[in-house]
């Protein structure tokens, strides 16, 4: 059995050799005491085994700890990024809200047909206005057509996503009726797919999204006084063509020229 400690005085001695009596304090080691001593011995052995096991499973423990640290780090990065994002977004939204609530500040300027208008980083020029006598446009009793040709330049390439229509749009002011009219798209102008495609190939558009294009307006009479209104802003809040926050307006009086041929010559 070897030497053991006396449960009373702690003296180490061989229980069997000393006849189960402590030579120091004289305690008689009874059954219960023996059991207690045995349990203490077992606990000591268990602790030693655990210590060995901990050494054995140390890597698993390390991994668990590492995973936890990583989780906390990721959470921390999320919290910081979100915090920065929110703190940048909120002042922007507050200024947008204020812009909506206050009256629009739009600077107005007048221009002429053929004059180059600069809407940075683009330039825009309306070359001519005419009454199109094209067979592919449906004949309507109450409405006439009025077409305006334009050319644009700048970052306006067909293979580039951004173009002038992202920051500017056009409408026609019928001064007599005091009505502002939007240009019609090829789809709105014609009922058939064939004519729609033909108009599309003739660069008919409702937006300033081409290098060279033609805007077609439906008017009550071509003999009235009209002016072209160009509205420009810096950025769009949404995805629609009228989502640009406007801060500039150009007005061009319409002077009709001779009919342009269908082929554009």
């Amino acid at each position: 059995m070897g030497k053991q400690r006396c449960p009373q005085c702690g003296n180490k001695f061989d229980f069997e050799l000393s006849g189960w009596i402590c030579p120091e304090c004289g305690l008689v080691i009874l059954g219960s005491t023996e059991k207690k001593v045995f349990q203490q011995e077992e606990l000591r052995k268990k602790a030693e085994t655990n210590k060995r096991n901990n050494k054995k499973y140390g890597f698993k423990y390390y991994l668990k700890k590492k995973f936890f640290t990583m989780l906390v780090s990721v959470l921390l990065i999320f919290v910081i990024t979100l915090g920065i994002g929110i703190s940048v977004k909120v002042p922007d939204l507050v200024s947008k809200q204020k812009n909506i609530e206050k009256d629009a500040l739009i600077t107005s300027a007048s221009a002429e047909m053929g004059e180059l208008i600069s809407i940075a980083p683009y330039t825009l020029e309306f070359t001519q206005a005419f009454v199109p006598d094209w067979d592919i446009l449906p004949e309507l009793n109450s409405i006439n057509y009025l077409a305006v040709d334009f050319v644009t330049a700048g970052k306006n390439q067909e293979n580039v996503l951004s173009n002038l229509s992202d920051i500017a749009w056009v409408c026609l002011h019928d001064i007599e009726a005091d009505s502002y009219l939007a240009p019609q798209s090829a789809y709105q102008l014609t009922g058939s797919d064939e004519n729609q495609t033909a108009l599309y190939h003739m660069n008919v558009t409702s937006e300033l999204d081409k290098k060279e294009g033609t805007l077609i307006f439906m008017v009550q009479s071509p003999d009235r006084e009209y002016e072209l209104c160009i509205f420009a802003g810096s950025e769009a809040d949404g995805y629609g063509r009228y989502d640009v926050s406007i801060n500039e307006q150009y007005t061009i009086p319409i002077k009709l020229t001779e009919q342009r041929a269908v082929n554009g010559s």
């Binding site: 939204l93 629009a104 739009i106 009219l181 009228y242 926050s245 406007i246 307006q249």
Partner: protein, 176 residues
């Protein structure tokens, strides 16, 4: 000492967790706000509103309400809005709706396509709009004048700036 460090670590993790949840909630409200700003309709303001009595020489003329509407926002309003007239300035007051005389009315009548959204009120522009009264509208207006002597007009709530009501008058309007 070691226990103290463990306790502060636990507090730190709790703080990060709570911050994360709070930021997610704030982010939800910020996106809702951003969405509502994108959907925001331009605010229109009635500059003047005048009742024009029917012309006795014209058959089936029941008069009209002539309104100057200004778009004070930075975006255009596509489609000329309807007008409401009522005998009370209470927000829940029942009003009669009038349709505007639109530029493309004759064209829309000619074909099946509705072109009314091609007519717009650009930012900063003021347009004069005629709201023609039908026989029933004229009766309702007459009843309102007899009952209260005052008729209020306004545009639909979501586009009317501050939901303001205007007193409709024969010569001059006054803002309430």
């Amino acid at each position: 000492m070691k226990q103290g460090i463990k306790k502060s670590q636990r507090i730190f993790i709790w703080i990060i967790g709570i911050l994360f949840v709070l930021e997610i909630i704030v982010l939800f409200f910020v996106s809702e706000w951003e969405g509502s700003l994108k959907r925001e309709e331009p605010k229109l303001h009635i500059e003047s509103a005048q009742w024009i009595p029917p012309d006795e020489n014209i058959k089936n003329d029941f008069g009209e309400i002539f309104v100057s509407i200004k778009n004070r926002s930075v975006k255009p309003k596509c489609n000329i809005p309807n007008l409401l007239f009522m005998n009370s300035d209470d927000q829940n007051a029942f009003g009669e709706t009038l349709m505007p005389n639109r530029y493309y009315d004759s064209l829309s009548a000619e074909g099946a396509v509705d072109y009314s959204s091609s007519e717009m009120i650009p930012p900063g522009a003021t347009v004069d709009v005629h709201y023609r009264l039908t026989e029933q509208d004229a009766r309702e207006l007459d009843a309102m004048i007899r009952a209260n002597d005052t008729v209020y007009v306004r545009l639909s709530g979501y586009i009317s700036e501050n939901k303001t009501y205007y007193k409709l008058q024969m010569q001059q309007e006054e803002e309430k």
